[in-house]
Amino acid sequence: MILSSVQLKNFRSHRNTEINFSGNINYITGGNGQGKTTLLESIYYLCTTKSNIAKADSDVVCFNEENFEIKGSFNNSINNEVRIYYSAEENKKYYFKNDKQVFRAAEVIGQFPVVLLTPADHAITQGSPSDRRKFIDSVISQASETYLKNLLDYNKTLKQRSQLLSRLKEQKQFFYTTELEAWTEKLVAAGSEIIKARKRFCKEFNRFIAESYNVIMESDEIPGVAYNYLDGSGTDEIEKLFSDMLSQKKDEELRRASNLIGPHRDDFIFSINDLNLKTFGSQGQHKTFQVVLRFAEFFYLKEMTNRVPIFLLDDVFGELDINRSSKISSYLSKVGQAFITLTDFTNLSYLQKEEDDLILYVSKGNVSYGT
């Protein structure tokens, strides 16, 4: 899948920007705060209906304006024109595919798979368990609509059950009512699906991590991701283990009125040669591991969805040495279409630039083509 062009209107610093892209690598250069990252953000919007940076759509409207618009042309076997329009007055966002309005985000997610590598990725390996869950969930959700639906179902169950626990606490009913039994059963059913899917995913994903790691690091170290939550003798045991854990924590759950067991409280372990990255990894190892994870995500999605994702890389070379950067850039040429921001222009000299690659200069929201 290729994004052949975008048009931005009143999108942050881009009042009126129209760009035709290369189907290979698009190098986006320019100083800090000129609107490079904004270009990536707009592409992310087109693929997911959401910003990867802003919490609210209103945050990205150009100063003193009432609305913004992003248009993009995706070329696959068929062409898809996608348009996002946001009106500040209505505080409402409209999403159109080929001039037909799309009402549910779930109909868009996974249609235009996208992989984004940013400096914020440090949280995946160095942050909290919830950062890791967010990463894993987003990868599986892009590949599996069923997983996304199960996840929404589980999260809803969590909210309902915690509300019920609060009510029971208020009423000083510190025992399982039939109602709580029903919500607990639902929690186990929905949660077990999540746990099983995450276990299957981690097994599968290790192959992709190893491949990318070997290309980028040129070493035979073995990287991996492990997920040991509710490990038992077999996958059919998970429901039982989950139920058992819940009955052990029964009193504490009732007292604290909160869901204490389940895949909303688990964690993933990244490792190199069986050494836990979080404990033993150097700063450089963390950084390369984050890059490796995004490449692994790219190839995983490509295989699972039969679609070539769009690869967005924000300022990836800043913290890497020349050797690693040049490895990554030649690896990128195998990927398909990629968009990569560079602050330091001298970087370009050691990157493996190909004939069809494109260089764009961004300055104060204006974009010009380079050679």
Binding site: K149, D153, K156, T157, K159, Q160, R161, Q163, L164, R167, T178, E179, E181, A182, W183, E185, K186, A189, A190
Partner: protein
């Protein structure tokens, strides 16, 4: 121009209906204004009749013009099978399929702690009374396959289990997260036939 108060009132009332915005309400109000007196009168009568003539069946809580609904009174319906649904609209959806000849029980919603819906606020105790009073062979749970619908089905299965009555749930032919009333008839019909024991 100032909109006359009478027109504004009509627009306000109409736009309280689900799925009707201000614009549509305005169009409807103007349309009614242009219609013949007879037509307007029969519209008003039809609307009033909804509240004055229709009640909930004392047995199954389906809509009825009498104490008991047509389905409960019919001797062609199998009284030993009860199909439990969320809303009256679900009864209508299943009736359209002509695949079902048992009776119904309308819960009036599903369990939803966040919205304050408890087992007591639904017609669940009334269902238990029905199960106790007459011989029931089977209870079919035809609730929407969403988070709350599925949990309500689990809850009911637990309550009924003690009574030694077969409990089935309609098969998942329905779109996940979709409402029963919006599914096409063939899908609903298949789902009722393909029910499974839970």
């Amino acid at each position: 121009m100032q909109i006359p108060e009478t027109l504004q009132n009509a627009v306000d009332e109409l736009s309280k209906l689900p799925g009707i915005g201000k614009k549509t309400a305005f169009r409807l109000a103007l349309n009614i204004l242009k219609s013949d007196d007879d037509k307007v009168k029969s519209l008003v009568l039809a609307l009033e009749g909804l509240k004055s003539k229709l009640h909930l069946c004392k047995n199954c809580f389906n809509l009825s013009e009498d104490d008991e609904c047509d389905i409960c009174r019919s001797n062609k319906r199998d009284k030993s099978i009860i199909c439990v649904v969320e809303e009256v609209s679900d009864v209508i959806a299943i009736e359209k399929t002509n695949e079902y000849s048992g009776t119904y029980h309308v819960l009036g919603g599903v369990l939803n702690p966040l919205m304050g819906v408890t087992p007591e606020s639904l017609k669940i105790n009334e269902l238990m009374v029905r199960l106790n009073n007459i011989t029931i062979k089977e209870v079919i749970l035809a609730l929407n396959p969403d988070t709350e619908g599925e949990t309500t089905a689990l809850y009911l299965a637990k309550r009924i289990k003690e009574m030694d009555i077969k409990v089935t749930r309609i098969a998942r032919g329905l779109p996940i997260g979709g409402d029963l009333e919006f599914a096409d008839e063939a899908t609903v019909g298949r789902a009722v036939l393909g029910r499974i024991v839970i």
